[in-house]
């Protein structure tokens, strides 16, 4: 019970924070794009959008600082076995992450509070470190997650950790694909989410130039990324095939090790196979090894106590793939019309699709993380330490989980409420003497 509560609490906290990470990395890029357009064209509309977005950026960053602090508490409170034994192997990455976080906090403050008070140039320059620091911050955290999947850079003899090589641990075999996959996801989540807010506004009849620009810029950035994400996903999956075959078997519901392995869409896994759903023969061998006769390792390659909960992993994975493909399709439609006709499709069905794309991107993000985190179970450090051995021996964690769950819920409601209020507030006034170009 305590272990389940600890995992749920950690999952809740991570699932909450990761959305803010997306906005921390990608949203400043959107804000700076708008400010850059203002500086280049002199069109005041861009300044008004940038200024309004920078307020949203501050709210989201503040919530992210809070949830990030809680995460660093939880690492020690919930997983003392893990931190106590391996903290010195990957701690270096967190040291660099802390540095990035500091830089981000400082320049978010200078940027958000420096409007009209710093020179235009200085203000824009003060914004540049924000996405860079956000990128490095997520890079170092991803490095730690990659290390949990692919623990390298040390030796372990009779349970004693030695010969630590922090840089090797940092640049582990899972680092690169996880990093790229996550960065693209960040741009998809922030881009589709921002666009979806303005798509809703357009569906409600606001069709002015500000709304259209505020929709098109983040949408186009997200759409440029979404198709690429499919390729990166394939890269990630093939790394999992090579280094974590059991996780892949869970993702695909493959009970028995076999050649010509079929691939299933939908269905339910029990008793070593997928029941129901659509089966395509040989497809899994083809997808994983690019060869229909290739042998794919099944769940039976390890004892049952070393297998992750298959259905959770599999459903999360399929959800991510389906939603991700839908987003890529939407992206292709938008990019095509934008390229050929230089316009945004403003038909009702397309605006509805954009409105759904924001929440959809979040669903894909969360289910992706569920896939990799639950798929690694029962290990916290792959093949080295069980999650149950890492967990705290303190009692009372279920109570804490419920209490903190309520607090998180309040935080989420508060954040959405504050953002909605910001959205409803009157638009930024034009600068005196600056007529808006129409």
């Amino acid at each position: 019970m305590d272990l389940i509560a600890a995992r749920n609490l950690q999952g809740l906290s991570l699932g909450f924070h990761i959305i803010l990470v997306c906005f921390g990395v990608a949203f400043p890029v959107f804000v700076l794009t708008m400010e850059g357009l203002w500086l280049r064209t002199g069109d005041d509309l861009y300044r008004r959008i940038a200024r309004r977005w920078s307020k949203a950026m501050v709210i989201l960053f503040a919530v992210g600082v809070v949830s990030g602090t809680i995460l660093s508490f939880e690492l020690g409170i919930l997983w003392p076995g893990f931190m106590g034994k391996y903290g010195d192997v990957f701690g270096f990455a967190f040291g660099l992450e802390g540095t990035s976080f500091f830089v981000e906090a400082i320049f978010v403050a200078i940027y958000a509070y420096g409007w009209d008070r710093l020179s235009k140039r200085a203000h824009f320059l003060a914004g540049l470190p924000i996405p860079i620091a956000g990128l490095f911050g997520s890079l170092f955290v991803i490095a730690v997650n990659g290390w949990m999947n692919n623990p390298v850079g040390f030796t372990e003899v009779n349970g004693v950790v030695g010969d630590i090589q922090p840089l090797q641990a940092l640049f582990n075999g899972f680092f690169w694909h996880e990093l790229v996959h996550m960065l693209l996801a960040a741009f998809m989540v922030a881009g589709f989410m921002t666009a979806s807010v303005y798509a809703v506004a357009m569906l409600r009849g606001r069709r002015d130039r500000l709304t259209r620009i505020a929709l098109v810029v983040p949408l186009t950035i997200a759409c440029l990324v979404a198709p690429v994400q499919l390729l990166v996903g394939d890269w990630a999956a093939r790394t999992v095939v090579a280094d974590q075959p059991v996780k892949l078997a869970a993702m695909e519901g493959l009970g028995r090790t076999q050649a010509y392995a079929p691939w299933h869409l939908g269905g339910w896994y029990s008793d070593g196979q997928v029941h129901g759903g659509i089966a395509i023969p040989d497809m899994l061998s083809l997808l994983t090894h690019h060869d229909p006769s290739a042998v794919v390792q099944g769940l039976d390659s390890v004892p049952p106590e070393d297998q992750p909960p298959v259905n959770v992993v599999r459903i999360a994975f399929q959800l991510m793939v389906i939603v991700g493909s839908g987003l890529a399709l939407l992206a292709v439609i938008h990019l095509w019309t934008w390229w050929r006709r230089r316009r945004l499709i403003t038909r009702r069905w397309f605006l509805l699709a954009i409105a759904a794309a924001g929440p959809g991107a979040i669903v894909a993000l969360e289910s992706g993380w569920v896939t990799t985190e639950v798929g690694r179970q029962p290990w916290i450090v792959y093949n080295l330490m069980r999650t149950s051995d890492a967990a705290t021996r303190a009692g009372g964690i279920p109570v804490v989980w419920i209490l903190l769950g309520v607090v998180y819920l309040g935080l989420a409601i508060g954040a959405v409420w504050a953002l909605r209020r910001l959205a409803k507030s009157p638009p930024e006034p034009p600068l005196p003497g600056m007529a808006e170009a129409s």
Binding site: I59, V63, V66, T69, I70, S72, F73, E74, G76, I77, W79, G81, M83, G84, K85, Y86, G87, D88, V89, G91, F92, F94, G95, L96, G98, T99, F101, F102, V103, I106, A109, I110, Y113, G114, R117, G162, I164, P166, L167, T392, R393, A394, G395, G396, I397, V400, L403, L404, V407, Y408, G410, L411, G414, A415, W417, A418, P426, E428, P429, L431
Partner: protein, 345 residues
């Protein structure tokens, strides 16, 4: 040697957090007691003005401290965190409440959420430093043994030393907040508010001094080893320094030299933190675990030192820039309330 350097980094992070984070928590005390009506509103606006641009950076010191702790002394970190899970989760809840109410209150002005948000902010500002202080008190009085949740989940933090340190954390924060705000109010030309914060600073300063000195007999009974460290050698030097500099701060505040008092006030609080570290040296988790015992292997500590050099090269100049812009009024003092955007421009 490397382990000592890492411990120094840890103490530096904690001291910075005690001063900057503490002052930030302290503004919550004055926010809570600002009173109603026009005057209360002005006091709150001033507090937001002073803390707005710097509060997030102030709180990153906590993350810095945690990161240095778990990288350099992983097992000790795991022991402290798992034994102290009750006060730490309460502090975590306080941090969530406080950070979010701070971020949202800009947008709650004039709504029916205004008063509950202000109350949540004020209460969280008192409870969070108190609970973090009890953790420090529990470690200092030797109540955290090495191991996964090996200490007593209740008495480890609910004991005379912990409660004394918890109260001390709250009052020193309130004191620093009053000193800093008095200086800012004077710089902003808000003479009457500067006066009223001068009075607050004097009251809180006397109170903080009384709690700090009053804690000594408590430690004598409850944590004799720590007490010994504080009345001998370098520990005693730190205690005397804190008393002298703290007294000088009161005099500077009384004679309206607020901008100088800002520095001496910070030094007085820093001296308490340093005094504690010196008093418990060479132990990281008294009574048995020394800094050297608990330290991570050299390769890790070297990497951490590399990160620390990077930190000094990148973060320190950025911080200096932030504080300089903030202290010279080059940063907007608050985001204009959402409903008030037109009035601002």
């Amino acid at each position: 040697m490397l382990a000592t350097l890492a411990a120094l980094l840890l103490v530096a992070g904690l001291t910075a957090y005690a001063v900057l984070g503490g002052a930030d928590f302290g503004t919550g005390v004055w926010d809570l007691t600002a009173g109603r009506g026009r005057r209360g509103e002005r006091v709150r606006a001033l507090l937001r003005t002073c803390m707005g641009p710097v509060w997030e950076a102030n709180h990153v010191w906590l993350i810095f401290t945690l990161v240095v702790f778990w990288t350099s002394f992983p097992e000790a970190f795991a022991s402290v965190m798992s034994t102290m899970y009750i006060p730490l989760f309460l502090a975590a809840a306080g941090i969530i409440l406080r950070g979010s109410s701070y971020a949202f209150r800009v947008h709650t002005g004039g709504t029916r959420f205004e008063n509950p948000t202000a109350l949540a902010f004020g209460l969280a500002s008192i409870l969070t430093p108190f609970f973090l202080g009890t953790v420090v008190g529990g470690v200092a009085s030797g109540r955290v043994p090495l191991g996964n949740a090996a200490g007593d989940p209740l008495t480890a933090w609910w004991n005379p030393t912990s409660v004394a340190v918890g109260i001390l954390a709250v009052v020193t924060g309130a004191y620093l907040a009053a000193v800093f705000t008095a200086a800012d109010a004077r710089r902003l030309g808000e003479g009457d508010l500067a006066e009223s914060f001068r009075i607050r600073a004097l009251i809180a300063g006397v109170l903080a001094g009384a709690v700090a000195l009053g804690a000594l007999p408590v430690l004598h009974g409850d944590a004799p080893a720590l007490f010994d460290g504080l009345v001998h050698g370098l520990g005693l030097v730190a205690v005397i320094a804190s008393v002298v500099v703290g007294g000088a701060t009161l005099w500077l505040v009384a004679t309206r030299r607020a901008s100088l008092a800002r520095w001496t006030g910070a030094a007085a609080v820093a001296a308490i933190a340093v005094g504690w570290a010196v008093a418990q040296h060479p132990y990281l988790l008294p009574p048995d675990v020394t800094v050297a015992d608990a330290a991570a292997p050299d390769a890790t500590l070297w990497a951490l030192m590399g990160a620390a050099v990077l930190f000094v090269a990148v973060v320190v100049p950025s911080l200096v820039l932030l504080y300089r812009l903030s202290l010279t009024g080059r940063l907007g003092h608050d985001l204009p309330p959402a409903d008030d955007a037109s009035a601002h421009a």
